[in-house]
Subunit: 424 residues, 2 copies
């Protein structure tokens, strides 16, 4: 008996059969005595079809109108889902993001949620109805125009509504069984995690794990919303994202999992004068182009020349823009040349316990060395070690590290338990 | 230099090419210096596709959710039309019915417009932008839920916005060239009318002319909105619906045109006791079933039996419900039997001038008699004569009457001019 927010993605409601299956799940939750708020994405390929229509009428559609167009996708899925739920004898009412009180800024296509005023949702719940809410969308506080939240927007809508309504749990239904110790397509022995802290999930999401978007985890952490990631195709429990690593028991597993990311490229600025302010000038220009940089490495300066090389990683899609921005300052900064490399991959080892276990990085680098994998860049946080390798070596690297930390399912059942003080 | 409201139907925006063609027309109107408000329907078959989806998930979808679903159709077309217009260098902003201030009652699927508060449309016009508004939809004043206006809803949206904004004209773009003296598919010699009064257009619409819905004409008449019905495929002027017949010159044509209607059926109640209150009881039961009756005829009672027959026409789609309602009162009313006949057609002759020209009905009935057409029911208004015939005789009847009143294009050019006092 509590308040449950459930989010279903586009693949779960791709057709009438999927919608009916989701409706049955909603009805079951309601019949169990819970108040239910459902957040739904657009059906399957709807968004792509709408984008295709837009392209046919305009090469560069205004962002306001593109948001108006795309939000019709959730309008269709939410109305159909409310109908299918009503058909099972459970009263359901659908609400647009605007009606649900999802207030955003005016950045069309990538709006941020500023506030949630779910008065109408509360009314529907008080009347005993299920509320079905359009994910991915809101209304601008300034212009009252319809906005979309961009990637991961529906998950964020669900977590934001759960926070505003004080829900007991936010269930994110997806096509996998939860969060795994590694991508099961690369590591067949990967295991589902029963629980993971917000901090660990943040690092996993930032390191390429696609099951939850970073912004959604950030929102959940800020408001302390327990997020249950689970499969819409099975009744089994998934992974609960909750709790801070500060509260973890001492015997908590050191290592949570291994994430990998093929979405980044590496740019190297060759022959940069090694004097104060040069790096700042370079990265100011890249930032001014609206590009987020991930890892940065600066080599030791060659004494003879006073020149150094600076490498950084960034989303592949931003590569062209970054190269253009850097070329424009080649004269003023005085560097030699630029190299672009999109054949790289990133591997990250994440675990809340690693901050108090000094042996982790040694074991990590030994595992990579034993497999003959060359490391091109390294970066670390308190609970993460990341390396950049050749793209072609990435899968082997993931498997090697997964095995080295005892994460393989054959070693044990349930969560990987590699405790500290075991001689590393 | 004025304010023009333009309405484009689903067939005008059926695909990307249609949307671009409409956008070009909008841009042309804006470049001519006019303020432009555009009302648009859903693209081509969108509504049918959405209804099909609804049917797949629920046999009897809740009306509120069906409205939510269907309104996504205009959301798509209006956003695409705004994009296509912007692509031609004309700033355009799309608005849902709710955003445009179309306030309705709560009758989902057939809501009535209660008020129009077009503050955001006015703002867009003041900024020099074209406003593109979703037709067919509004928001309930009581529940704040999204509603649809039912058949002819987009035309009504356009006229209501034109009235609220004080527009100079409301242009209804369609796939025909305007209002004709008869359906050109039946009468190839039918001519386009240049102007027609509200009263005549009301009678035409009520008599089966499909170019404008009755409710739209009623709205235009009440607020004095000039309505220009024209083709979206041609730059030629169409038909202007404006002015009252009270203001017509004496030499105005007597006859406006001939309308026909195949959408009705005839029910005959046989052997009804001919005493006060019996007809009232019959029609109360039909009305209680929510059925609108059109023509009613009661035969002279047979002196020997004290019984009479009562016939009436109604929409074919309501036939089953009416027969059921009447069957339930057979015992209490005491009639003999019921007959249902859907092989009937209705022909109507309409003209503001006929009220002061007594020869019209004589010529009308002679034309039908000369063509050997049997008349089953008759009803008249001040400016209309309607008869019910066999469905199979209807086309011949329409042609005979059209010719008899000199409406055929070969006789004269432009509007039919059959003046009074010419010996009829």
């Amino acid at each position: 008996m509590g308040l449950v927010v459930q989010k279903y993605g586009g693949s779960s409601v791709a057709d009438a059969a999927g919608i009916k299956r989701v409706a049955a799940r909603i009805a079951e939750t309601r019949r169990a005595g819970h108040d239910v708020v459902v957040v739904v994405s657009a059906m399957g390929d709807t968004t792509d079809e709408l984008l295709d229509l837009a392209e046919q009428v305009s090469p560069l559609p205004p962002a306001r109108e593109l948001d108006m167009l795309l939000t019709s996708g959730e309008r269709i899925s939410m109305a159909l889902l409310a109908m299918a739920t009503a058909n099972l004898g459970i009263q359901a009412r659908s609400f647009t993001g605007s009606q649900a009180g999802v207030i955003t800024d005016s950045a069309h296509g990538r709006a941020r949620i500023i506030d949630v005023s779910p008065g109408r949702i509360r009314d529907a719940l008080d009347a005993g109805d299920v509320a079905v809410v359009a994910g991915f969308q809101g209304v601008s506080v300034d212009t009252k125009d319809i906005t979309t939240l961009g990637r991961g927007g529906s998950d964020t809508t669900a977590v934001a509504l759960a926070a505003a309504l004080g829900a007991d749990v936010c269930e994110i239904y997806t096509d996998v069984d939860g969060v795994f110790t590694a991508d099961p397509r690369i590591v067949p022995a990967a295991r589902r995690l029963e629980t993971v802290t917000y901090e660990e999930m943040l690092e996993l999401a930032a390191s390429g794990a696609k099951v939850l978007m970073l912004r959604c985890v950030e929102y959940a952490r800020r408001y302390g919303v327990p997020v249950h990631v689970r499969s819409s195709f099975s009744p089994r429990p998934g992974t609960l994202v909750a709790g801070s690593m500060e509260d973890l028991p001492v015997e908590h597993a050191i290592i949570t999992g291994v994430a990998h990311d093929r979405s980044e490229a590496k740019i190297t600025v060759v022959g940069v004068p090694d004097k104060p302010g040069t790096a700042a000038e370079l990265f100011e220009h890249v930032a001014a182009a609206g590009i987020n940089i991930d890892m940065i490495v600066q080599n030791v300066s060659a004494a003879a020349t006073g020149l150094t090389d600076v490498s950084f990683t960034l989303p592949k899609a931003d590569g062209q823009a970054a190269m253009t921005a850097l070329s424009q300052v080649q004269g003023s900064v005085g560097f030699g040349s630029l190299r672009f490399d999109d054949q790289v991959g990133k591997l990250s080892l994440i675990g809340a316990g690693m901050r108090s276990n000094p042996g982790v990085s040694a074991r990590f680098f030994k595992a990579l060395a034993d497999s003959g994998i060359n490391i091109e860049m390294i970066s670390t946080s308190e609970i993460r070690i990341s390396v950049v390798t050749r793209d072609s070596a990435l899968d082997d690297a993931v498997r090697a590290v997964h095995t080295a930390f005892g994460l393989d399912a054959s070693a044990d059942e349930g969560r990987a338990t590699v405790y500290g003080g075991t001689g590393r």
